[in-house]
């Protein structure tokens, strides 16, 4: 892990456009890794993609938050913007501890700035009060 300075080659597909270039990326170091060279791309966007994927990959994540008093026990959630891949588990830990009260509406902010990422955790499912659903059942 520490102090490894040998260059290595990563191979992955560029997903920026339908060309789907097979990128070969020469990388040095580990935390954070540094891109030395990119080959296999057909356009400059491939280089940008390779550098961001290797040096600072960003990801959106989705999970669920427990709901008290709802027709369902979970409300699905997602980050409102991509976060650094390395922060994913820290954010998941805060999502795990979070409990929401019904009703929950799509777009409700259930967490602010988890793990210092600056993102918001948004509800992506409507969860009604338990009683309301009871009526609907008829």
């Amino acid at each position: 892990m520490s102090g490894a300075r040998l260059p290595s080659h990563l191979k992955f597909l560029c997903v920026v456009c339908p060309n789907g270039c097979d990128l070969v990326v020469a990388v040095e170091g580990t935390s954070p890794p540094k891109v030395l060279d990119v080959t296999g791309h057909r356009c400059p966007r491939g280089v940008d993609y390779a550098v961001s994927e290797v040096e600072r990959p960003l990801r959106s994540i989705a999970s669920s938050v427990r709901v008290r008093g709802g027709e369902m026990s979970l409300a699905s959630v997602r980050t409102d913007r991509p976060i650094p891949l390395e922060s994913v588990f820290g954010v998941m830990e805060e999502i795990r501890r979070c409990v929401a009260e019904a009703p929950v509406r799509i777009g409700d902010v259930l967490l602010e700035n988890p793990a210092g990422t600056g993102c918001r955790i948004l509800a992506t499912r409507n969860v009604e009060h338990l009683e309301k659903r009871g009526c609907q059942r008829g």
Binding site: F12, L13, V15, P18, N19, G20, R42, E53, P57, R59, S60, I61, A62, S63, S64, R66, M72, S73, L74, S76, V77, R78, L85, V88, F89, M92, I106, T124, R125, N126, G138
Partner: protein, 417 residues
């Protein structure tokens, strides 16, 4: 018993049925009925909480429930009757449906029907893996339902058989919820999921993908204790001596989806053995007049966005049919000719072309490749030729074909550019 008389009846309230019902009412049909067997609309999108839906349709990355809600909200504000908890038991050639609901048994006579029942997962039984029958073996979608809707983690140490997208997404989901994933095993020499999912679900979490490898035995009594995996040769037969034991307490199967077409079969609608869905023409009409098909019940899609596009078209055609039918004349069905899947093509839709009107060809290739031309050939003439820089069986190809000089029928081939 009295038979209800309705305009357009849509079977299935998932993404296809929602889009079809909306476009049917927008196209001028004033009597649209949407039947859904679950207690809520949205279909499989309800359990697909990951994002990436709607990039084409809305230009943003939505989760499944959000994508569904966009359509459900519109259905609610339109004049569409929705009946949840209603399961269609049968469909006849004169478009009479038998329906079971909380109100009991009933029959509906429809002017037009849209089949939007979606698909189901292939199971272990379809693969015939030898060994015991312990608990802990799930289809990936069943595990997704347990985790995302019921808050149940199906196991702590997972093996995933098949590299379909649901399996890849579940691999990440399990890791995020604290389980470990030993690996994903794929019998084919290439992955069947989308590149985006391979990168973001496996590579990100260091989950290994083992190609040309499959599960050859299930171990454990009562509860799953492990699986035996083996390398396979070019004919997908396990190679003796390559067996390896992998301990695990849950095995997820992501080995393909099959359009759900019991209703179509019962109705005598011709099915395509390659897609598992109905044979339709460019108006999405089956060979039973007035019955249309769309979504994953027609063929398994890679992206929901295309399901919505296709289903909107099917809904519009169903509305046109129903309106004409209501005016007292059964519309005439123009002659159509078969479209064949030629060299390099696994399947192509529509399976029949009337010609003379705009159409969209949807197809899947047999093998991955670069710089390939898709050709529509009619009687030896290239009617359409389009180049794709990269093709993959996991990704559907869609080609708009202008109708002006489009003859009926043809052969679609994929060849090197």
């Amino acid at each position: 018993m009295k038979c209800e008389i309705r305009g357009v009846v849509v079977i299935g309230g998932g993404p296809a049925g929602l889009a079809a019902a909306l476009s049917a009412v927008e196209a001028g049909c004033r009597d649209v009925l949407l039947l859904e067997r679950d207690i809520r609309l949205g279909g499989i999108l309800n359990q697909c909480i990951h994002d990436g839906f709607g990039l084409h349709a809305f230009g943003e990355a939505l989760s499944g429930p959000e994508y569904a809600a966009r359509y459900i909200d519109r259905v609610r504000t339109h004049d569409i009757e929705v009946r949840t908890g209603s399961m269609v038991l049968s469909l006849s050639r004169d478009r009479v449906l038998e329906v079971s609901s909380r109100n009991g048994y009933g029959t509906i006579r429809a002017d037009a029907v849209v089949l939007a029942m979606g698909c189901r997962e292939r199971t272990r039984e379809a693969l015939s893996i030898p060994g015991a029958r312990p608990s802990g073996i799930y289809t990936a979608g069943a595990a997704q339902n347990l985790m995302n809707l019921e808050n149940i983690l199906p196991g702590r140490r997972a093996v995933i058989l098949g590299s379909g997208d649901i399996g890849l997404i579940m691999a990440r989901r399990m890791v995020l919820e604290g389980a470990s994933v030993e690996g994903v095993y794929e019998v084919l020499p290439y992955a069947s999921g989308l590149p985006r999912n391979l990168r973001q679900c496996l590579d990100d979490y260091g989950i290994p993908l083992h190609l040309s490898t499959t599960v050859t035995e299930v171990l454990g009594k009562g509860r799953l204790e492990g699986v035996v995996v083996s390398r396979v040769d070019e004919s997908r037969s396990p190679i003796p001596g390559t067996e390896r034991e992998v301990p695990c307490d849950v095995l997820l199967l992501s080995v393909g989806l099959i359009p759900e077409n019991e209703l179509a079969r019962g109705c005598g609608i011709s099915l395509d053995f390659r897609t598992g869905g109905a044979v339709v023409d460019e108006t999405f009409m089956t060979d039973v007049p007035g019955v249309f098909a769309c979504g994953n019940a027609l063929h398994v899609h890679d992206l929901v966005d295309w399901v919505s596009v296709e289903a909107s078209e099917a809904g519009r055609e169903a509305a046109d049919w129903a309106v004409a039918f209501r005016r007292g004349r059964e519309p005439e069905v123009p002659v159509s000719l078969p479209v064949k899947a030629g060299e390099g093509v696994r399947y192509v839709l529509p399976g029949r072309l009337r010609g003379g009107r705009d159409a969209v060809l949807s197809l899947r290739v047999l093998a991955p490749g670069r710089d390939r031309d898709v050709i529509l050939r009619v009687e030896g003439r290239d009617v359409l030729r389009r180049t794709f820089p990269r093709v993959h069986p996991a990704e559907m190809l869609r080609l708009a074909v202008p109708g002006s000089d489009l003859p009926p029928g043809g052969v679609v081939e994929v060849v090197s550019s």
